[in-house]
């Protein structure tokens, strides 16, 4: 490989990741300030607050030890999360398509699954004072059930993360296979090439259905209202994130913003055939999609209540069926 090609590729990869990171830190602010706050007729936070100032503030706070059986591992998990999202984005950049299997849908699915499993670990390693360790006289005052096994709110969250892995994230993964079925290949390079030759997948019936399913999956994976069963305020509160403080909380915020951009970039690759690349005008489409998705999801969350499993199961099942129909439509 020529030196100029190596420099070009390296610049493309580093530049794309930097741009992605810069855009991603503004996304939570756009979502909350320009959409939710406007819909709810309130001023809302400064646009830089949720994605930039909050992580920055937490980064410089004093780190406290989490109440956890494995505090170091617990603290390491958000960093693990951000690394996984980083790798997903890395594999979406065209300059990395030479890596073969790593730049396939299977690898992306695997990495996203690891991201989901991280929530299970986070939940099971968190032992917040809020739910259990609070000494309270009701136990000795003649409580109805004094000897019951007591559980943490985060345990509940951890169990729900399991359920999300089992069925909740199904729509997203089904949607990922719509372009695969159309292109006849699991490799991102082939899917992009197919769309360059035949037009974007989005401009087909299967593509439209797949895009809808992908979007619902995006909201579920990001734990957006109404799908926020991992951290519903009415019961498990912050869920897996409960014990994160200082820079570790900062990492969780950054991961979320970064994941928002990365999933949008994944959509651009699979449904529009435009991979993120700083050295191409296509990056503007990636940025547009990255901004559009949080806006749409904020509108949806602003107008719906939190789902319990009673609503969540039918929605996940219904959207999954729609995803299957989208795959079947690719054969028509």
């Amino acid at each position: 490989m020529e030196a100029s090609t190596i420099i070009y590729s390296t610049a493309a990869v580093i530049g794309t990741i930097i741009v992605a990171f810069i855009i991603s830190i503004w996304l939570p602010g756009i979502e909350r300030k320009f959409v939710q706050a406007r819909i709810q007729q309130r001023i809302g936070p400064p646009i830089s607050s949720p994605g930039i100032m909050a992580p920055l503030k937490f980064f410089f706070k004093e780190t406290i030890n989490p109440n956890s059986p494995l505090p170091r591992l617990y603290n390491a998990l958000p960093l693990g999360g951000i690394i996984i999202v980083f790798f997903i984005l890395l594999f979406l950049i065209p300059e990395m398509y030479f890596l073969g299997a790593l730049t396939s849908i299977i690898a992306i699915v695997g990495l996203l699954k690891i991201e989901e499993v991280i929530y299970v670990f986070m939940g099971s390693f968190s032992r917040s004072i809020m739910s259990l360790s609070m000494p309270f006289p009701d136990i000795i005052k003649g409580a109805a059930h004094p000897d019951i096994k007591r559980s943490f709110l985060e345990d509940l969250s951890s169990l729900r993360a399991f359920r999300l892995i089992a069925f909740g994230s199904f729509p997203l993964y089904i949607a990922l296979f719509v372009p695969v079925a159309m292109a006849g290949s699991i490799f991102l390079g082939d899917i992009v090439l197919y769309q360059q030759l035949n037009g974007p997948v989005l401009f087909s019936v299967a593509g439209i259905l797949g895009a809808i399913v992908f979007f619902i999956g995006y909201m579920i994976l990001l734990n957006e209202y109404p799908f926020a069963i991992l951290k519903t305020k009415a019961d498990v509160i912050e869920g897996p994130y409960m014990e994160y403080a200082a820079k570790y909380r900062s990492y969780t915020y950054l991961t979320r913003g970064f994941l928002m951009f990365t999933l949008s970039a994944l959509f651009s690759v699979l449904f529009l055939g435009i991979p993120p690349n700083i050295l191409s005008w296509g990056i503007l489409v990636n940025i547009l999609v990255a901004i559009l998705f949080p806006i749409l999801s904020a509108i949806m969350s602003a107008f719906s209540p939190i789902f319990t499993f009673k609503q969540f199961y039918p929605v996940a099942a219904g959207v999954s069926i729609l995803g299957v129909l989208a795959i079947l439509a690719t054969f028509v």
Partner: protein, 377 residues
């Protein structure tokens, strides 16, 4: 669901999830222990006591007017009804006839407070549902009520309107104030009707609240539930019908069937126009004359009791007067009698609905944190 099926004390309970005393879904400190199996609540236990301030003890031996002012500090939401009822205790004991105009102003304040409490309930209910947009819009409507309360009472929380013998002179309603109340009522009626339309036609919201945490009529009576929570189970009971000061007003007592979250939320929505109706009548027929009678004389009394229909249910105040001082004061707030219903409502439902089940009974635990029980171990 019948009462038998929802009985507590079951042996096979998987685990316990505790919430509180501090929890974002709870506006006040209280503790709820939820005994769950696969996220379904099998039993629930609510404990209050975190915010005990001993107000009745502080009232002991205070001059009656000071003690009355103190009752206003019991609650931040229904402060007016506390001082109103406490003042009524003294007025009953001392046989004071208050001027008619003062009675009308008290009713206006009482109904404005009911509007503010019901709107707060709706906003909080929607917040626990996770529907922040509805919650914010309700808060926006409620702001008009808060401004009217501030205009009359001088404060957004503690108004100090009622005094023994009538209402405070600064709370007199002049033409400007009456006009503002009229405009406020028009605004509230219009906006609440708009909200109600959107609320009942939202299928997702309806799916979350229909049939969730119901309290059957029989159980509600057994658990001594009061106020709109009781009326939402189909029991036609409203103390306002028995209160002399409400005699000049024509209003309907709303009842709904089911006692679930939907019935409770709609109960408040439907009671708002009734309160608006009462306020409009009070303004239209507001009698002239003084607003305070200061000719009464202090004397010793026996134990005097007074009940009023607060926004959340029956409110009880009692004390006796001895040497111009208050003795043996007892306050019983509506939430005290509704705690049993809150525990009952959660059972058999998903843990995410548990907070909703508690909130549907319109709890005000800080108000309730008064009685202490000393158990000899």
């Amino acid at each position: 669901m019948d009462g038998k099926k929802k009985s507590s004390g079951q042996n096979v309970i998987e685990t316990e999830i505790t919430m509180g005393p501090v929890h974002p879904a709870a506006l006040e400190p209280y503790r709820v222990r939820l005994f769950v199996e696969d996220e379904i609540v099998k039993d629930a236990e609510i404990t209050v006591g975190v915010n005990h301030r001993g107000i009745e003890r502080i009232m002991e031996g205070l001059p009656v007017e000071k003690a009355n002012s103190l009752t206003e500090k019991i609650c931040g939401i229904c402060s007016n009804v506390h001082i109103w009822n406490s003042v009524m205790v003294a007025e009953k004991g001392l046989e004071i006839e208050i001027p008619e105009r003062a009675s009308y102003i008290r009713v206006i304040m009482g109904e404005l407070e009911r509007l503010h409490s019901h709107l707060l309930y709706l906003a909080h209910g929607n917040e626990v549902l996770g529907h922040e947009t509805f919650a914010m819009r309700i808060f926006y409507i409620r702001e008009t009520v808060m401004e009217l309360l501030r205009m009359i009472g001088g404060n957004r929380v503690q108004y100090g309107v009622s005094i023994i013998g009538g209402v405070r002179p600064r709370c007199e309603l002049d033409e400007m104030r009456i006009q503002k109340i009229k405009e406020g009522m028009d605004f509230i009626e219009e906006k609440v009707a708009e909200f109600a339309d959107r609320f009942v036609s939202d299928p997702m919201v309806m799916s979350r609240i229909t049939g969730v945490c119901p309290i059957p009529k029989k159980e509600a009576l057994r658990l001594a539930v009061s106020g709109p929570t009781l009326r939402a189970t189909g029991v036609d009971m409203d103390l306002r019908r028995d209160m002399e000061c409400y005699d000049p007003f024509d209003f309907d007592v709303i009842t709904l069937e089911g006692g679930d979250v939907k019935a409770n939320l709609l109960m408040r929505v439907l009671e708002i126009p009734e309160s608006v109706k009462i306020i409009r009548q009070a303004i239209k027929n507001l009698p002239g004359g003084p607003i305070t009678d200061r000719t009464w004389e202090m004397q010793d009394t026996g134990v005097i009791k007074s009940y009023v229909e607060a926004a959340r249910g029956r409110l009880y105040h009692s004390y006796r007067l001895e040497d111009d001082r208050v003795r043996g004061s007892i306050v019983r707030t509506p939430s005290m009698s509704n705690i049993g219903a809150m525990q009952y409502a959660c059972i058999g439902h998903h843990i995410t609905d548990a907070q909703l089940g508690i909130v549907q009974c319109d709890p005000c635990f800080t108000c309730t944190d008064r009685a202490i029980q000393i158990i000899k171990l």
